[in-house]
Subunit: 76 residues, 6 copies
């Protein structure tokens, strides 16, 4: 009965996308459920996955909203 | 001072509703606060309840987004 | 597929108990699962409940660890 | 590597604002990251902060949705 | 900057183990961090993983503590 | 009614301490409650703080349990 919560910033990883796509979400759900089967022998149907997309201004890193932190650090 | 977090998929239970209604939320809040009073003697005003509605494509079960899992299993 | 998380301080409600008892936990699990069935029509077997007991020195209220806050307020 | 999650109701504190402003969020991120540096010596770049704004009808207090509870108690 | 939280019951999957082993935890951490790199292009060093082991009497399924539910269903 | 959750690894910051001390916890509770009063005008008595200490083998960073990651990076 594992519960996996994945929190990411709401933004795209592909040109033109401004959020995680439905296909990427499906890959995350499949991958992490499979991992729990492989490592801990948890049946797929016993695993719940919740993906939470967080607006960038709501995510802090380095004492700053994440966009400012990335700019300061020269990260994308 | 209990904190209760209720995570559900964003969808309706009644015809025409596509999310949990304000009235259903009020019933959840009342019911769970009363439960904590009955079982653990926690005063109503010491209990916080947070309801999180999760988009269906963000919820995984059985290694699949929940709508696909339900289809596969013949669940509504 | 609801997930309910119940966070309470680790302490007893009955004389001699210093934590929530297994029986009280079972009542919380049953009560909240039934509530989700009654209000949102969620089948019992689709609901996960996680109870988290938090040490009192790890719980803050009113800007203070909870035991100090209760003392200050004359609460039990 | 601390993770700090701040959950608040989605509402404004200033006239005309109906949610937490980007500037207030930046102050929360900065303040709590600094606190973890001051108290536990955690470097700023090792702290993640996530702010979750919760719709008022999704927040319960005193067995009621928070707006009703405030009205009943004569709180703003 | 993803944050992944993995909640599982505290129990062993191998004979003689009564909890998740350090090696299994390392595999979960590696696998899920790699998944976020593969699917969303998140660098490994930007991902935090938190594993929470939950006592079985604190985990509810089907309206019952999980051990009773498994017994009832004839699950291991 | 804010809820603040602070997750840190269970380890000491002072020589001889192997966990966060009660005094450090009290400082975190006071500091973050004050911050919410200062920035969002939330009264102290409306803020709950929960501190979660996570075993180091349960915390992953850079695809590794945190102690290994620190060793690899030459961090304390």
């Amino acid at each position: 009965m594992p519960i996996v919560t994945i929190q990411v910033t709401r933004e795209g990883t592909k040109p033109g996308a401004d959020s995680v796509t439905a296909n990427e979400k499906a890959q995350l759900i499949e991958g992490v459920s499979q991992l729990l089967l492989d490592v801990l022998n948890k049946p797929l149907e016993a695993t719940f996955v919740v993906i939470e997309e967080v607006e960038k201004e709501n995510w802090g890193w380095g004492g700053l909203p994440v966009d400012e932190y990335r700019k300061q650090r020269g990260l994308k």
